[in-house]
């Protein structure tokens, strides 16, 4: 068929995220995520509860190829993050987060056939460009 399937469940994603933040230079986010009580994948959304708040990120659009711009809608108060030095490939606006994956010889030849979040799983199906 010519396919690569990547599946990640919410428990693994939460653990990986905490591990990445532990060693990152984002003290605010690191401390915040110590208080995470729930992290779920559902209906194309990542829903996470921290202290008394519930935040979510929703897939709005994704590129044809792996490299390109991924757009998510979110309800995270941006001012909370304004002093944090986010990595260059992340662009944060009031209700939108853009992830920009730079193009490379290999990535531009990989097509995204599916990019979905449902029932606790993030599923990415990749295929070839003809």
């Amino acid at each position: 068929m010519g396919e690569l399937i990547f599946e990640l469940d919410d428990d693994m994603a939460k653990e990986l995220l905490i591990k990445v933040l532990e060693t990152s230079k984002l003290p605010f986010l690191k401390n915040l995520f110590k208080h995470i009580s729930s992290f779920k994948f559902k209906d194309n959304k990542i829903i996470f509860d921290i202290l008394l708040f519930s935040f979510n990120l929703k897939i709005k659009s994704y590129p044809d190829n792996v490299s390109g711009v991924y757009v998510f809608e979110h309800n995270i108060p941006v001012r909370m993050l304004k002093d944090q030095k986010l990595p260059e490939f992340i662009e944060l606006q009031d209700n939108i987060i853009r992830l920009k994956i730079p193009s490379s010889d290999i990535l531009k030849n990989i097509r995204i056939n599916e990019f979905k979040i449902e029932d606790g799983i993030l599923r990415i199906k990749l295929g070839n460009i003809n």
């Binding site: 068929m1 010519g2 690569l4 399937i5 469940d9 653990e15 060693t23 030849n109």
Partner: protein, 150 residues
Amino acid sequence: MGNLKIHVDEEFINKLIDKTIEEKAQIQGLKNLNVQLREDGIKFQMELELLGKKSTLDSLIKILEKPEDLEHGKLRLSLSGNEGVRKILEGVFYIISEFSEAFTAKDFEILIDFGKMKINPIIDSILKSIKITELVLKEGRFELSLELKK
């Protein structure tokens, strides 16, 4: 649960290689590179054209030992097939072994010792908390499943 699954078939890999080689004029002489994912290992087939002469080279990488987890496990591979290709592959791993203690290459056998792997603090701590539940090559597919350690 805590699962991560990656499944890939050889058609995906081969089409990607074809497309990448096609666009890269730098890889002179290499006409085709084909990968087969078989139960006994990964087979590479290269079609070369050098000085007007065409030749096909084969190499097989066999998996002799699979790691159970990524903290202390070992992956042991053996190289066979065309001697030239075997030497090149062995050479590549030899160079890597100079930089990382985790890799050793000797007598066409390559050992990757995850216990000695130090990449960076983030990846090292992730590797420590993950175990491999499935690592198989069969009928043209590569399947890898990882689980969180409790």
